[in-house]
Assembly symmetry: C2
Homo-oligomer: 239 residues x 2
DNA sequence: GTCTATATACGGATAGAC
DNA sequence: GTCTATCCGTATATAGAC
């Protein structure tokens, strides 16, 4: 699977996402006509991610948002009741879309090695297609209220667990060998996240997601398939 | 080298750092007696990192800082002339201390493999000893002015280059084999950073830096020493 | 459904007492 | 050297015209 193939079948256009926002916040959004509501929500969604990723959500003012979308202050407040609700709106909808696609993408591969490959690619392609959202969710997580912060942590642990379970099955099947499957999963996850966190670096090098995915696959397999690893307890050699 | 050994020899107490802040900002700090100045700078330094890491530097108000340090608004402004200068003060001093220790720590190892090990441990131990600072510098980097942001990126690239050069020497010496030493360095760096970015996760698992360092060393060597890697250009198998 | 104008609050920074 | 009191700008949110 390449990113081009993934994009075609995923169907996660801005329109789809904003229709989902509208559906799940029907009561608090004043606009009645779906067409205009979705059009304005797209403006708001895009501008919020762009501005917040540049200067931080809390530094971004509603006036900035007004300037960027072309909507007035009053019009904006017809789509959310407070700046905090705007944050919640973007995060909760984004998380729902991501979860749905992650689960869908992982049911097709067979065998631990192919599943690990598939998980890596799906995660990378998803974060490529929705890079502004992934970056936003990562960076703003700690500014959330306790309940929402807990949800963010659970989301991190859930994807780690998904990787760990694949590796565990690989070890049981005798196809993989690693001292600690949870730790292997954590390290792989760190490599996956670097792709959307250091966008500027990889963009400057004109590195495609497909190539990056190839490297991470290699690294993950080197880590999980490597034979005869010493138990990693503090010192691993004279060092 | 273990973290305990590193801590003993490094000598990067809060006092040392704040004496350095004082020295490099002597003109703008109104307090004359070194003892009181350093004492208050320690309060300010600690509280700034704690508050900013919890809610973000820009969301942290000077009034919050006043409450946390026990100093009044007026007193605080005797130590910096603006909130922005406070940010610059913390970041520039921290970066200087980190750079000094990184370079010092790397002159002792011999041979590419030992150097790679040493670089990994030094980086991890440093980020452990100064975790609040590392987290702060990472998270606040994008809120800086253009010049400061450029410095932050250069700092990222510099440590990556350091790793890449070790690996390149290893390949030349026939001790390592990797398709792309820069990419290998980037992935290792991502694993190093996860330690201070996901503190909550590893703390909950009661994982020590020494154990984490062992895992990353293993992963790095698996990645660099692995024999017969296929060239990672997009597809690496039927997949 | 969208706009302008404004109420209200809060944050950064400073002046001047002690 | 530290404090209290205050100025001034700006941000969120709303009321009411069009």
């Amino acid at each position: 699977m390449t990113f081009a193939q993934f994009s075609r079948q995923a169907g996660l256009s801005r329109g789809d996402i904003c229709r989902e926002i509208l559906a799940s916040h029907r009561e608090s959004i004043k606009a009645k006509k779906e067409a205009t509501a979705v059009k304005n929500l797209e403006l708001i969604f895009d501008a919020t991610l762009a501005l917040a990723n540049q200067k931080g959500f809390q530094a971004m003012t509603v006036r900035d948002l007004s300037r960027a979308t072309g909507l007035s202050m009053g019009a904006l407040y017809d789509y959310f009741t407070s700046k905090e609700e705007l944050l919640e709106m973007v995060l909760s909808t984004g998380r729902r879309v991501v979860m749905r696609l992650l689960e869908k993408g992982l049911q097709e591969a067979e065998g631990p090695v192919e599943q690990l490959r598939s998980a890596i690619r799906t995660h990378l392609f998803l974060s490529e297609a929705m890079q502004p959202f992934f970056f936003f969710a990562y960076m703003e997580a700690r500014h959330l209220g306790e309940e929402q912060k807990e949800r963010a942590k659970q989301s991190e642990l859930a994807t780690e667990r998904l990787l760990a379970e694949i590796i565990q099955r690989g070890v049981k099947a005798g196809l993989m060998a690693t001292a600690d499957h949870q730790m292997a999963a954590a390290l792989i996850k760190a490599m996956l996240q670097d792709w959307y966190l250091k966008r500027w670096k990889y963009a400057k090098r004109r590195l495609s997601v497909d190539r990056y995915a190839g490297f991470v696959e290699q690294a993950a397999l080197a880590l999980c398939l490597a034979p005869g690893l010493p138990s990693p307890c503090g010192e691993t050699s004279k060092s």
